[in-house]
């Protein structure tokens, strides 16, 4: 037993960020090593938590409590259920990959790493925090650094003014990095406001004595209250999960963000949203969830299909990946909406699968951009000749994206579709499967256009494959895709233990509504 394991896990990146304040700017290697150590400590502890989480006991483990404001019932209550354990492992993988992927970041690297570490501390915090108030705090800590990270280190774009709101586009600098940063932050903050209202409502409904979710889960909220506040939590957290139509921050934000930030944001931050919907919305307000499930599922299906078509229509590589995230997060929300064991297993597993897959994608896009200084797919072609390693990893990520067996994506989608059919919505399953096919169309088209065929043109002919540290993130995340795909049991057992228990609690309520 490691004492204060979860606290150390959450605090390590934060402490490292403070240490970086004291490191002189010119000591670049030290900056990187401090960041990498913090990432490795957190990742190592995550794996340790997942490995020593007692499957037979289930429930919440590694309980730690630190009083914060006792008079209001606010305390930092850290504990991990199976879901947390699985998502900690994901976050650990992504942050280690992210630190490695930004190794060559030169401009203001120290501030960059500090913000990255603060952000990931917030992510770890959300996954293990059982106190709603502190959870909200961590959530904001995870979301806000994005504004600065994109605003300073982001890349510029430009959108041609067209469409019914042309005058708006002429007025705003749509596509620029400040625009992307501002849009992302504002949209997510509006979501946060809704969440905060719901949290305070639940707190006062339950007597105003505790923010502890485990205690709140035992309180039976009035069904009418649940039906009122569930959609606020769904859309509030859902904005971060890219729920349609509040997903539009995602393509611009991901496209503008620097590599490691895109990796973290699509890889883990979007999961915070979906996790919030499930952990706060569905577990605390089961009757609200049951009432709203058809709508949540229907919107998720829109996400899947609409996101996939959106990705097909893009020519900028980062936009393709960003829209594919919108589509794949739809699979997570669909799994959540099924309210079944298999669907929930699939939803959480899809968070892990999509996290490593999209992390790998963004790392690769970053590498390609770093070499070619373009993300414009039509300008590429024949890159398989000059960067065979990058081509192989890109193909691997694509295969996981289209849910090929042997990759993590397959297991997640299979479970979610099974859950959808079980929940009495065959249409969801069919539409989801169609989404997987559309994904196959656009990812293989991208692979063909970038890596196959004639080329590369003269301008790119001398470029090479990934080098040294650059392999780090690729190998780490690529291996994760294959390991989770071929042998999902270790992670899926953790998820299953928690889903089973939570769905069992939900089951009598589902039966009451839908015998």
């Amino acid at each position: 037993m490691i004492p204060h394991a979860l606290l150390i896990l959450v605090a390590a990146p934060f402490v490292a960020a403070l240490i970086l304040l004291a490191v002189p700017q010119r000591m670049r290697l030290v900056t990187r090593l401090v960041s990498l150590s913090a990432a490795l400590i957190s990742a190592g502890l995550s794996v340790w938590v997942a490995a020593s989480w007692d499957m037979a006991r289930g429930g919440f483990q590694f309980d730690e409590r630190y009083p914060v404001v006792p008079s209001l019932g606010i305390e930092m209550h850290l504990a991990a259920n199976g879901w947390s354990a699985a998502l900690l492992v994901l976050t650990g993988l992504i942050i280690v990959g992210g630190v490695l992927a930004s190794w060559t970041q030169e401009r203001r690297d120290q501030e960059f790493y500090m913000l990255l570490l603060v952000l990931v501390a917030g992510v770890f915090g959300v996954f293990v925090c059982q106190d709603l108030f502190i959870l909200f705090l961590f959530y904001e800590i995870a979301v806000l650094p994005m504004y600065i990270l994109i605003g300073i280190w982001g890349s510029q774009g430009k959108v041609e003014p067209r469409g019914p709101f042309k005058f708006v586009y002429e007025f705003l600098d749509v596509g620029g990095r400040e625009y992307a940063a501002m849009k992302l932050t504002l949209m997510l903050l509006v979501g946060s406001a809704a969440i905060l209202v719901a949290i305070l409502a639940l707190y006062s409904e339950a007597g105003g004595t505790t923010f502890d979710m485990i205690a709140l889960a035992r309180h039976h909220f009035d069904p009418a209250t649940q039906k009122l506040y569930f959609p606020m939590v769904w859309l509030g957290f859902g904005a971060l999960a890219g729920v349609f139509p509040f997903h539009t921050w995602s393509p611009d934000g991901h496209a503008a963000a620097p590599t490691a930030v895109s990796m973290l944001h699509a890889g883990v931050l979007m999961k915070l949203g979906a996790f919030g919907v499930m952990r706060v919305g569905m577990v605390l307000m089961p009757e609200g969830a049951i009432a709203w499930a058809p709508i949540v599922g229907g919107v998720a299906v829109i996400n899947i299909v609409y996101g996939a078509f959106g990705a097909m229509g893009q020519k900028d590589l980062k936009y393709i990946v960003a829209y594919s995230s919108v589509s794949h997060m739809g699979v997570v929300m669909l799994g959540a909406a099924t309210l079944t064991v298999d669907g929930w297993n699939g939803a959480i597993f899809q968070m892990v699968a999509h996290g490593v897959m999209t992390g790998l994608f963004f790392a690769l896009v970053g590498l390609i951009y770093g070499k070619t200084h373009t993300r414009w797919v039509p300008k590429m072609g024949g890159f398989g000749r000059i960067m065979p390693g990058i081509a192989s990893f890109f193909t691997l990520a694509s295969l996981s994206s289209l849910a090929l067996p042997g990759t993590a994506g397959f297991i997640a989608e299979l479970l979610v579709f099974i859950g959808a059919w079980q929940s009495g919505h065959p249409v969801w399953a069919v539409a989801g499967a169609a989404g997987a096919f559309i994904t196959a169309v656009y990812v293989l088209r991208a692979v063909k256009r970038i890596f196959w065929g004639e080329g590369p043109s003269e301008e790119f002919a001398k470029l090479g494959d990934a080098k040294h540290v650059e392999w780090g993130a690729l190998v780490l995340l690529g291996a994760a895709i294959l390991v989770f795909g071929f042998w999902p049991a270790p992670i899926l057992d953790l998820i299953d233990a928690t889903s089973t228990r939570l769905v069992q609690a939900l089951y009598p309520l589902v039966l009451a509504v839908n015998p």
């Binding site: 067209r162 139509p245 064991v341 067996p405 059919w421 096919f437 088209r445 089973t500």
Partner: protein
């Protein structure tokens, strides 16, 4: 663990380990020939284990072994297992797969000799991975694992068709193959979902009721149509010939495309419950058999002839399974694997010698390549179903099964296809191997021993496999009896007639002109109506819609978001005027407010 399980594990994991080693150790892979030899070594170990496994199974024909471990959890218990199921059916297919794969790898040693070392290593890595994927499918104890292998062989097919990825046509063909089969595989994925929802497992022996069984089998059949190239989802197979010829022999003739037929054989307990699906299979299979045979008659590329022939023969198998003749379908799969792999490798040997796929560049090869000609004749005659050779026995079984189940029209269609089969094979034989020596064939010569050995190895079963039909039937627990009756005679007679017509038309060294009655069909086939239809669908439903979604998302959904931001900003601009910093304005507002409020108070 018993001996058969251990043997199957060796057969399965030796190539897998080799693929992993070659993939993870690039310096080894890039050595080229050493990597190729390692892969061949793995294939031969796998073949050895399969032979032993098969022999062992022959000794215990009724043995049915199952060994599995938990793979996916559900509520603390097992949702799905992975493992090995060894019975006569899987043991037989394992042998077929490893034998053909071994032959093809050995053949490739010489055929691919001129490839750059790094590409050669990549080629053999894919081949090793293919054996693993295919055996994963063949030995699967349940439908989920079968699907797993099914998709992995699809992946290797994609990678191998696109082996010459720098060539735009190869890149296009690979992606097309993946798209079409993936679209069809959506059916299999949904079949898994329905099967699990209704039976709580992925077993094909379950009884979900006739209606559900029909839905499941129809969904399965959609996947079969994609993988086994049944009309109208066959369009990827002719294009797949862009891959190296040994790949066409292994994946796109002998084994991978037959996976669809194998799937039906395995899941036959489900298909047996679904009469409607089987009826659909009979008609689609028979139609594909005739349709593809007709198109094969007008092709001038030797590989394309063989590709359409494969479509046609798969149609036979599907129709047979639909008619309930499992033995016919499965046995034809086996014999077809041998003679079609043989034909493709022989064609490869020819292409290697004359550096062209066009039959007009061949001609008179008999004078230069005796061995290749002999084995090609064996393959053709076997395929055409001339009595005494392997193809005769299996085709006869299918035709008999058709008639027994009362499907007279499909039976006639298949008889017609038998005639056409002999005709188009005769056409290839007489134009490519006999007659005058063509310009390009003048310097043709046989390949090295690596190319000759597999030809001989495959010619043996193509000749003689038919005589073991009853042994196979015993292993598969199926009925088998050979009836030499009038119907069998009709098929053989038509086959001989087909060769005779081909001889009359092409026997005296005539060029590969298309016969006059078939010219309209040739025109139609060359225009690629179906391809253009799919391409149109892709453009409209895919790209146009995607463009529309892109616009809608950028300028309408996001436009509304931007509009709200714009309104907030402009409202702020307007309201800002209120706070002008001018004292007179403030005094004015205060005075006005006092006046207004007092007026309100008085009037109230």
């Amino acid at each position: 663990m018993s001996l058969p399980i251990e043997l199957a594990l060796v057969a399965l994991f030796t190539p897998a380990a080799m693929a992993v080693i070659l993939a993870l150790v690039p310096p080894l892979r890039r050595t080229g020939r050493p990597a190729a030899w390692l892969s061949v070594l793995a294939a031969s170990i796998s073949l050895g284990a399969s032979v032993w496994l098969f022999a062992d199974q022959l000794g215990h024909p009724s043995r049915d072994l199952l060994e599995s471990v938990r793979w996916l959890p559900h509520a603390g218990a097992a949702m799905a297992n992975v493992g090995l199921r060894i019975d006569g059916i899987s043991a037989g297919m394992t042998l077929v797969v490893t034998l053909v794969a071994f032959c093809v790898q050995v053949f490739s040693l010489d055929y691919m000799r001129s490839e750059p070392a790094a590409d050669l290593g990549r080629y053999f890595t894919y081949h090793s991975f293919f054996i693993f994927s295919m055996l994963l499918l063949v030995l699967a104890p349940n439908l989920l694992q079968l699907f797993f292998g099914w998709e992995l062989v699809g992946l290797t097919s994609y990678l191998l068709i696109g082996f010459y990825f720098k060539k735009p046509s190869a890149a296009k063909a690979a992606v097309k193959a993946f798209w079409v089969t993936k679209l069809a595989d959506t059916g299999l994925l949904l079949a898994l979902v329905v099967l699990y929802t209704h039976t709580g497992g992925f077993e094909w022996t379950s009884h979900p009721g006739a209606e559900v069984a029909t839905i499941i089998t129809l969904l399965l059949f959609v996947a079969v149509m994609g993988k086994s190239a049944q009309f109208p989802l066959h369009v990827w197979l002719p294009d797949a010939m862009e891959g190296p010829t040994p790949v066409s022999a292994l994946l796109h003739a002998a084994t991978m495309v037959a996976a669809g037929v194998y799937l039906i054989v395995r899941t036959n307990p489900l298909f047996a419950q679904a009469e409607f699906t089987r009826e659909v299979m009979v008609w689609i299979g028979s139609f594909t058999a005739v349709f593809a045979a007709v198109i094969a008659c007008v092709q001038t590329d030797i590989k394309k002839v063989l590709a359409y022939s494969t479509c046609s023969q798969l149609g036979y198998m599907v129709a047979a399974l639909g008619a309930g003749s499992v033995m016919g379908g499965y046995f034809h799969l086996t014999t077809h694997a041998f003679f079609k792999a043989l034909l493709f490798l022989a064609a490869g040997s020819v292409i290697h010698a004359v550096h062209s796929n066009e039959m007009s560049d061949m001609g008179g090869l008999w004078k230069r390549m005796k061995l290749t000609t002999i084995v090609f004749v064996i393959g053709s005659v076997s395929l055409a179903g001339i009595p005494g050779l392997a193809g005769f026995f299996s085709k006869d079984l299918i035709l008999e099964g058709m008639l027994e189940s009362g499907h007279t029209v499909p039976w006639l269609m298949l008889l017609g296809a038998a005639f056409l089969t002999a005709f188009y094979m005769g056409r290839v034989l007489f134009t490519a191997f006999f007659g005058e020596l063509s310009e390009k064939a003048k310097h043709a010569h046989e390949g090295g021993w690596e190319m000759q050995l597999p030809l001989v190895l495959l010619a043996i079963p193509a000749l003689g496999a038919g005589y073991f039909a009853s042994r196979f039937a015993g292993m598969w627990h199926l009925e088998y009896e050979l009836h030499l009756n009038l119907e069998a005679g009709a098929a053989s007679g038509l086959a001989i007639l087909g060769f005779a017509v081909a001889y009359v038309m092409y026997g005296r060294g005539a060029p590969v002109a298309t016969p006059a009655i078939l010219r309209p069909i040739a025109k139609l086939a060359a225009s690629g109506v179906l391809d253009r239809f799919y391409e149109g669908l892709y453009r409209v439903l895919g790209l146009k819609l995607a463009g529309a979604v892109g616009f809608f998302d950028r300028y309408v959904v996001d436009g509304l978001m931007n509009l709200s931001g714009y309104l907030a900003l402009t409202a702020g601009q307007k309201l800002r005027r209120l706070q002008s910093g001018n004292v007179r304005d403030y005094v004015f507002v205060v005075a006005f407010a006092i006046f207004a409020l007092s007026a309100f108070g008085i009037l109230r």
